[in-house]
Amino acid sequence: MKGSKAAAWILLLLLPAGFAGVWRLQRKINVAREAMNREQDEVLLRSPKLMKVVTGEYATLAADIYWTRAVQYYGGRRLGQNTNLESLWPLLDLATTLDPNLLPVYRFGATFLSEPEPRGAGRADLAIALLERGIQANPEYWRLNQDLGNVYYLELKDYPKAGQVYLEGSKKPGSATWMKVMAARFLEKGESRETAAMLWSEVYESSTDQTLKENARINLQLLRSDEDIERLTEIVQQFTANTGHTPHSIRELIQAGMIGGEPLDPAGYAYAIGADGKAHISDKSPLFKQQTTYRRGL
């Protein structure tokens, strides 16, 4: 008995030392594994058909897991810094094959598959394939038509097709009235900033996912700043015509009485006039970087 009591005390004293060793080793292991993972993210078993067979009655659960990984994957890459999104498509493909009714996947996938690099994968064709699968599996869910139409409009600039898709969507039960309105606009007016703005504000209103909402919001801001810049440029040209020289700053325009006050971009920063005599977004504004990385409405 005495022996084992002594052993107990020894163990108690050694435990902290033991776990300290475990801690150190774990850190080293983490480093090694991090290096391993950085090479390429893995999607095991890329064959959706195989997975459908293998998972059997757990297909829906497996779909959820793949979807979760997709979100984690995308979230973990700190948007814009990783241009390799080749693994995103397989995850979405798998998730929707295993559970075709997993609606968030379609909306999410459509946006980030279709947007050009570096923000998205730049693969509008995959987005369309995904959405068409979604529409086939969920024929009453009109929002998928909205998403599909948006891809045609924004990426492929195929306005007739976009309008057609919106029209089909507007016929589905429960669809919003503006679906028909938008369909008409697409078919009539084709490319237009106003239409794009309406499109994005619908997306903004209807998105529950923060990432998508944010995406829509910034696109809207960029559209508005586009409009501002167009008008500002007109005013600048007017000024140049009037005075014979290009203005160097907004203040000159104010002094000349051509605009009332200092115009701010949607992010709250003042516009600037460049050496080329054109107006543009100030480089202090967050919109400056976003205008290159985000997809524009026009």
Partner: protein
Amino acid sequence: MSRLLIVARNTFREAVRDRVLYNLVFFAFLMIASAVIVGQISMDIETVVMVSLGLSAISLIGLLIAVFMGVGLVSKEIDKRTLHAVLAKPLRRWEFLLGKFAGLVVTLAVNTVAMAAGLFAALWLVKHSIARGDAVVLVAVYFILLKLMLVVALAMLFSCFTSPLLAILFTGGLYLAGMFVSELRSLQLTNLTPQMQKFFAVISYVLPNFGNYDVMGAAAHGRSIAAMLIVHNTLYTILYCAIVLGAAAVIFSRKDLK
């Protein structure tokens, strides 16, 4: 030391006679089935599918054996009182415990190596060649074995002070928790207080991190694994097993038996 080996040898013999190794037959069927399925899917991913399936099966079967037999190592001896006569021998209780541990680990090693051989045989049949990249599969198998060692140690620890059923549940639960430990660490739950976040961070280091052993991706795609990782995982396993078995030995040494 040699007394420990006597117990180990007997434990191995028990496992064999318990027809545990018959699971290899099931594994063989699985490999055949997967080869057939793979033939029907597509080129190019044969290795991926077979290695993934094979490693998953090796891991799962190994885990089942490790948990159920690991718990039984101690509890069966106590329940059936086969232990009493052995304790009358000049053998310390901790020697007995470690001997049982060693016996089961050897059984698992034999089982795992046999399955790995089966996996390579299946791969060869399907691909008609073994590439250098396939050697990574060996590392993956080794890691699985390390993982199983730790699971057996945990199973033994729990069975020293709880009922067999609870020991199985605790061990299984700890394994699942350990798989997600690494997720715990990267958890950025901003709605937790800093103390809670610190708490989770500490827990994530204390709990056995079974995610360390997961290299299925690398093995399936033939990507090499850093040598240092192999060394560190080995050391980690040895150290953690030592802690767990030490605790088990102390508990077992003072336990009143039936």
